[in-house]
Amino acid sequence: MPLLPSLYNVAFWLSRNATDAEDLVQETFLKALRGFGAFELGTNFRAWIFRILRNTYLASRTGLAARNTVGLEDELGDSSESGAALHPESAIDRQTPEMNLINLGDRAAVQAAMEKLPPPLLEVILLCDVEEMKYREIAVVLDIPIGTVMSRISRARAALREELQASIMLPREFRA
């Protein structure tokens, strides 16, 4: 079944366990079937079904918990259409990248850093980097403006970089 691996991978990342991921994917497919009449031919099918997955996740127990604990836009005033204006220069790494390169090759370290992202940042990174969606598609899936997509991506990557840099300082056995 095409898209099953992608949907399951994202579902597992979001729900953090296999049982919930399977339920999430199953519910997504059933909702897609039931609501197939609402899908407009010629529009983006992948964005449509990922949006169902995401909405199903938000309505789930883990999704509700995540929604209640994180309110990025409210917290950070991050609702502008222009992602560029939101980030100070310090958000960019101006150092030589050698230190970072060491850990970028460490898949486990990158996965650990991704696990520490708050759900709104994790989902945007999954859709952008893993699912290789365009910003426009991500905006449809997450139901947010493109500017917010851009600012979340910036914030997510800055957080990943900080986490990876921090993990260099700690031996593997001491990493969370």
Binding site: L3, V25, G105, V110, Q111, D129, E132, M150, L160
Partner: protein
Amino acid sequence: MSDHLSPALLNSLADGELTPDQRTTVDEHLTECPFCTSSALFQSLLKSATTKAGQRYVPPSQLLERLTLRVQEEGDPSRSAPRRMNLRPAKGLAFAGWVAAFALLLVFGSIVFVQRNSNRTAIVSSRYAGLVTEACDQHVATLASNSAPQVISSDRHTVKPWFQGKIPFSFNLPENLPDDTKLEGANLTYFGNQPAALLLYSIGKHRVSVFVRQRIGAGIPDDFSREHAGFHVIGFSTDELEAVAVSDVDPNRLSNLVGIIERSQAQASQSMK
């Protein structure tokens, strides 16, 4: 653009989201600004790393069976809630409707799947192209520098121990080489953003650079062979390592040396079992 590039522009560059005008401006800036070039490189590498790391969970084989069963249940009123029982006369139609919807879902999904697969193939191809270019560039740079290797080889027992503690893996070096082939020495280097051993061989008067590093993902295919800027590039993978050799020597002789190095890795892993 006198100031540094904003994070949004750097991310859009890594994500291929710049407009043509933005792309021109950014390219101009990058030619003059090493800080932003470094940042752009890092953003691109980070994206690549998260792409790989994010592909982490594979659906269990029974999930597809469960899904198919559930779809059939949804489409079969006799297995569903009692409220549907009064729709019995339309049972066949309803089931046909579900089957048609499921088929449409599969068709759309298949189209997306094929598109994504072609994208992945392009990414893999560009990864190999990047490795070939980098191997040739480093080979030329090593030849041009005219400096002695960081470790000069008296025999294979000099070179291999030198890497202890310098790289996060170990490799084996072949004992017996063809008559006119010699291990000159080695350097510690970065290859494809990974710490790597650069083994410097000579075959007659031709120089050969062999990059050995930890294997990433599917590794380099067995028949990997490319031509780039007049150089022959050959590679191989083992369970743990991958290697790329580059030289302007006759491709058969290069292939022979690479084969000997590859077999020595296999012998090393067999002796460890």
